[in-house]
Structures are given as C-alpha cells and as structure tokens.
Symmetry: C2
Subunit: 212 residues, 2 copies
Amino acid sequence: MTQLTGMAPDQATQIYGMDDSPRGKLLSAAARLFRDKGFDRTTVRDIAREVGIQSGSIFHHFPTKEDILFAVMVEVIRFNTDRLRRARDAHSDPVAQLLALVRGELQSIIGDTREAMSVLVYEWRCLSPEKQAQTLALRDIYETLWLDVLNRLHAEGYFSDDPVIMRRLMTGMSSWTNTWFDQQGSLRLDDLARLIVRRIVGEASLPEVSST
Amino acid sequence: MTQLTGMAPDQATQIYGMDDSPRGKLLSAAARLFRDKGFDRTTVRDIAREVGIQSGSIFHHFPTKEDILFAVMVEVIRFNTDRLRRARDAHSDPVAQLLALVRGELQSIIGDTREAMSVLVYEWRCLSPEKQAQTLALRDIYETLWLDVLNRLHAEGYFSDDPVIMRRLMTGMSSWTNTWFDQQGSLRLDDLARLIVRRIVGEASLPEVSST
DNA sequence: CTTTACAGACCAAGCGCTTGCTTGGTAGCT
DNA sequence: AGCTACCAAGCAAGCGCTTGGTCTGTAAAG
C-alpha cells in the first residue's frame, strides 16, 4: 500500500525542476522543510513523514542527510542557470537582456523555485567544504552570465561604477525580496524587475513590452 | 583559578555594545560562534569552552540556549538603533541624513557588530514565535528611523518610487554586503555608502565632507 | 506461458552518540 | 551570612544512520 512511486501521498507539492520520481519527491519535500525550519532543525524523520515512508528508507536514496541538501542546491542552480541563459538569448539589446535576467532571477527567488533558492542562501554553511566548493563552481557559471551583460552595459556607458559591485548590489536587492515580496500584493514581479534595473542604468529608456 | 570575572581567558575578543561582565563575554563569544557555525550547530559546550567554563555553568546566566540568541539580538538592535539615531541627528539636510544612516548601517553589518548582525539575519527562525514578535517590535523602531528620512526625501522630490520599497531594496543591498565586503580591500566603507545612496537619490549632489 | 532471477523501494527495530539542561555542592567576595 | 560564579557528574530525549529482511514489478530463461 505504501509504494511511493505508484500513488500521490499528500498533494503533489512539487518544486519546478524536480521530477516526480521518488528521488524528486524527496527533494521537493526536503527543500520545503529546509526552508521552513532550516537544515539542522529538519530531521530525516520529518522528511520521511512528509513523503510517507519510514525514516530509514531515506538512505536507500541518499547516502547522508547532507547529500540531500547538496542535491537540492545543485538541482536549483542548474535549473535557474538554464532559465537565465534562455532569458538572455531572447534579447539582443543589453538593457533588455539585463531586465530579462532580473526578471528571471526574481522568478527563481519569489516564484517557482523559491523554497530551494532560500535554502541555497540560508543553509550554505551546512555543507562540507568540498561540497561548498562544488556548488561555488556552479555559481560561477551563473554569475558569469550576469557579468557579461553588465560589462557590456558599462562599456556602452549605461553606468559608470564597477560592474562587479553593481552585480553585488543587485544580488542583495534580489535575494532580500524573499523576505517581503507578496505574490498576492499589488506590486507585480515585472514592475519590481524594472524598478531594480532602473537603480543600475538610471532613467534610460526601458522597453515597454515584456516577454519570457 | 577559573573565575571568569577576574581574568582575561583568551583575548578580550569583545563585541561592541556588550560589556565585560560574565554575561557580556558570554554574549560576545556566542555571537561569534552563532555567526560562524549557525545557532543549531553551536553547542552550549562550544560556548562554554570559548569562555573557559563548564557547559552547565552557562545556565547560571541564561535559562535556555535560545535566550542567549535572543539576548544577542536584542542587544545588537538596541545598540545600532542608538547609533543610527545619533547619525541622523548630526545632520539636517535629508540627503546627508540618508547618507549617515547608510554609513551607520554598513558599519553595523561589516564593522564592529558584524557577528551579531549576521546572526540577526540568518538565525531569525531559531527564535520562538513570541520572541520573534518581541524582536520585531524593536526592529520597527529601527525601520521608522529610515522611513522618516525616506518619506521626507520622497516629498521633496529626490525620488519618485514608493519609499517603503526603496527601503527594502536598500536593506537588501546593505545586508548582502556581509557576504562580500572586504575590510582590507580597496573599496572604502564610505564610498560604498555613497554608491548605495546614489542608487536612491540619483546623481543629485552629495555632500563632500564625511562625519560620524 | 510459466518459472526463476533480480533489482528497486520500502519496513521494523534499534544502536551509538550528542544534545540541552539539571542537580547538588563548593570557593570566594562582601 | 549570603550572594555570585562556578564545577563535576549525569540524565532523558532526540539525532543520523545501520541492519536484515519483505514486497513488488520486470524480464530473461526454460
């Protein structure tokens, strides 16, 4: 009666980028719990209960609890790097590209992958140094996407300050939104994205139409 | 031989705003450990070892481990609210006031109280709901300081967007600096403050002289 | 078309260790 | 005499993880 594969245990509260295999469901549940209670306060028994199996059965899928956290992080970085790459490639104008990047990042932070993203920010130090290094390598790819666009904007005179520092200020603005942005509120994600871009390129003309 | 009061156990690595009483030393050590390892991964035995006493003796000063975390947070909010109030009162021009606030906040995040401040951001959910509410009340006072100045700037036409949202973007930029700012690096804290203020009020004239 | 083999998904029980915290008592200062 | 600061020992609970076994679906072998 309790084969996980064949049935929907509670609701299929599944996080984007994670499939509906036993492993994927485990990752979705773990991501949500890690976000809500933190990695350390989440027990393997919690995760097991959420998915509907015994705590010991977790270790049929992952060697350690830390590996679950690691898998969540790797999965979400990969997924969002892809998303950002697609968003950028949809435009040629660098301002439009920056707007697309911001929109994509906001989507990941307050949209479909918000659980896993906030885990990425807040549970970083729960990883062993080796796994931290591996995650960092993936993050570098992600950051290169940003710096390419920002460097071009800088070269074309859209702003005068150091692009690296501008990116850091943007990261701060974006990642903090997970503490206050209300999906139901009157501020639309797209408007917020424009607001942030305007902090960087000033009141220069922003394209009117929006696209994915 | 091991009375904590009468001797310096390691070095007096003491955090601003916390005195050199047994309680104060405990809080300083705890803040640093909480920052480095996180609240949950820090054991009362860790804190005790750092201070040079037995783990059980901790509970002569605090009823529970959570109360240590709570005390760290209350102490640092109080200290930094005072600092910001003084910074604001040193100026009458609203742009200069905003700059002073940003400088003060950066000082708290990457300067003297950086350990305790990052605990405030990252270990928030380790508090019980009641204690969270108490801390929130203190934070409201802190935030009112900001909104008063931002509202005035808004009214005087220095920027056109919602002051509340501007403050949130600023909070993000500021708090994120604790992940990247290098005290030894070439970027001075004061320059960073000006950079941030310029994101809000644009290229409007910033005062040249700096003051505490 | 059955039989046999096997791997993936899971259970029931529990081991060894760490954790926050308690208890009962002592040393020194005022 | 009493208070503050501490020690030495240890308890109960919870933790990550292990072990040995069961069930089920799939697929090749006979």
